[in-house]
Symmetry: C2
Subunit: 422 residues, 2 copies
């Protein structure tokens, strides 16, 4: 069974908006054993939408529309599906009554246009939408094609807003698809690593995962993180899990402590978890990353149990005031130096009384440094980690724009801390 997703909406044909519902729908359909073979994005134009619907019905078993179920003239999915399928729309009295009720509750008269939200493909099941006025629809053509064999098509109409589409899919569409599709059991696992080149991960893991053609392996690289996703289908849930676990176990043995999580936890979460388990606290003094490291750590709920606080000393004076960095150290070595990174880490640790202190200094660009740092290259970063017994400092040379350099600097700091804690 293959599916096509049609996203209806002129806004997705502008330079500003991309269809993201299909990512969610694809994940859900995959779990039901259905592959998505085509995605079509089409504007609010009846000819274009009908053409897209006809094409999809000609090549996919399941055609899933998102959007175009509102009450305005631009909402044309019902009409397009009706024309493409050759199936009449009928006005559903229960839906119509519910629409009148919605308006009555708000003490507004319903505009006549809105009645079209009660139009349903003949033979379709109405899917109740608790979060909006646009009902979903589900039509399985085998259920009404009694005169001999015909192409079986499942046509699904869902509203565009994710807050309406997702509950409708999970509560109404999934049970219907599950009841009609062959049973499908799947298992997934995700291994996450930081700062390793994708090609290195692939070179080391592909000899292993290629031995498991029954497990779908996907490597994703993004922002200094590599994710290995495993997905397996099997006649039972246990068997699917066993397949995924066997492959995952072998890859974990190969990549060893390069893997920071196997359950979906982020690098920030893992670092805070390791600190918490050891009853350690953390503080940070970050110059070039400007608060990004503190922000990433505090984005995790309950980080306050472990993270005491941070400073962003953007001037030499504040490096002295908030982290006790001796002015002479900055004058001699420049602010971007291993000495200043060390002093920031040790200073913030001492001042806050935390178990561990992190210091970051560097040049994020695009403008060059000033004073002693002026000849140093953009992308040069020093990261120091200080504990009661030892301070380690690392030099990193990053490329790219300011945003990328700052992000990767925090990624290096988190990974350095994780390895420090191992």
């Amino acid at each position: 069974m293959i599916a096509e997703i049609i996203a209806a909406g002129s806004e997705m044909l502008t330079p500003h908006r991309v269809d993201t519902n299909s990512l969610y729908l694809t994940a859900r359909l995959n779990q039901l054993g259905v592959q998505v073979a085509f995605k079509t994005i089409v504007g609010d134009n009846i000819d274009h939408l009908t053409s897209a619907a006809r094409v999809a019905l000609s090549r996919a078993d399941i055609v899933l529309f998102s959007g175009g179920l509102g009450p305005t003239e631009d909402d044309l999915t019902r009409e397009a599906a009706s024309t493409a399928l050759g199936v009449e729309l009928r006005r559903d009295p229960d839906l119509l009554a519910a629409l009148y009720k919605r308006f009555a509750a708000r003490q507004i008269a319903m505009p006549p246009n809105n009645a079209k939200q009660a139009d349903v493909l003949t033979g379709a099941t109405v899917l109740d939408n608790k979060n909006g006025s646009a009902a979903g629809q589900y039509l399985d053509t085998t259920l009404w094609q009694t005169d001999g064999p015909a192409l079986r098509r499942i046509v699904i109409l869902l509203p565009g807003p994710p807050k309406e589409l997702k509950p409708l899919f999970e509560q109404s569409v999934e049970p219907l698809l599950r009841a009609t599709l062959p049973p499908s059991f799947f298992a997934t696992r995700q291994l996450r690593m930081a700062l390793i080149p994708e090609s290195t991960v692939d070179a080391r893991t592909s000899p292993i995962y290629k031995q498991y053609p029954q497990v779908e392996t996907t490597i994703l690289a993004h922002s200094g993180e590599i994710q290995l996703h495993f997905l397996a289908f099997a006649p039972t849930a246990e068997e699917a899990q066993a397949r995924v676990d066997e492959l995952s176990g072998k890859i974990e043995a190969e990549m060893d402590d390069a893997i920071f999580s196997s359950n979906g936890d982020s690098l920030e979460e893992i670092v805070l978890l390791h600190l918490g388990l050891r009853h350690l606290t953390l503080s940070v003094a970050e110059s070039c990353t400007g608060g990004l490291l503190a922000q990433r750590l505090t984005s995790i709920p309950n980080s306050s149990r472990t993270f005491l606080g941070g400073i962003v000393p953007y001037t030499p004076e504040l490096k002295t005031l908030f982290a006790g960095v001796p002015p002479a150290l900055i004058e001699v070595h420049g602010a971007v130096s291993p000495e200043v990174a060390t002093a920031l880490a040790e200073g913030i640790r001492t001042l806050t009384g935390s178990s561990i202190g992190i210091g970051i200094t560097g040049l994020a660009g695009p403008t060059p440094g000033s004073g002693l740092d002026e000849p140093k290259p953009i992308g040069l970063i020093y990261i120091a980690i200080a504990s009661a017994t030892v301070t380690e400092v690392k030099e990193v040379n990053l490329t790219g724009d300011r945003e990328r350099i700052r992000w990767w600097a925090t990624q290096h700091a988190l990974e350095l801390l994780r390895r420090h804690l191992l």
Copy 2:
């Protein structure tokens, strides 16, 4: 003239990747006066890709492929376009020589498969790719259909990596399209506002922009910001600019100082600009936003001219240590209080010697506050702005998850500072 963009690549039919090249291509095509009517995303499957190509050729004047031009078995765009068009592929000797040269330079023998990257649709112009091995192709069917009238189609093949696709489009495709399409002159403008409901902006501006049907107006709302985009086409560049400017001027008069920029500058940039023009400096003390405000300000190049630094005092002790907040104040009012926000703003200002200090304290959730703050609702935020002469404090009640509450809190702080500076 309408266009269809076909993005080829199985990775875009997984739950992990979305096609973003089409946003760039849409913006560029729109500027040439071409509307994108369909986008199709299709996997690396010769039947599916050929079907998508056939459909596109049947309904769009310009068919633009991205991806599928690599050397592997999965790279099928050349073959699919050839079959759908009914045009043979020819092996281009110059391209083939260039491929051999690329490999020779790296002292590797070229695998025989790679020769297919030299295959070109008969009649197509080869577009030189300086950033990769996959050449682009441009075929205008009118140029070889001499035997009477036929459907005119422009078929463009571009490699998928954005770093190859964008320069190829700008350097090779745009000049070719410009030479063949009717001249098109456009102008754009963008007005940006913070923290106003989209419905309010629409209610106040739609009576104005509806009087300008020749200007395409788009309202985008995202993360506490509203953007109004205007786009106009005209026979001359001056006329297009005049149309956009006239409408923009009227909307600026209506929305007045709610508009923070009309030239694309972000809220962070505008706040730093206003501070810089007045020779003012800034420091921040943020608790619940955890460094996000400092991070947003320091994401702007040269922010160090204005932004002295920040603190993230995540414990009561650090609020006292780094911003001089009296412990009694926290004990009496709780950390989430207008009093503590005020003390943070005034304290960080005094300590750093900045012209202006900002203090933020609040509950970002999802877990409730502790101690005195425990009964206070999640989403309650206090923001204080202190200058030499006055301190103002604002209470904000936000909804949503931790990430949203933290972002909106910084959005309120920036907008409050902007209005403070007006």
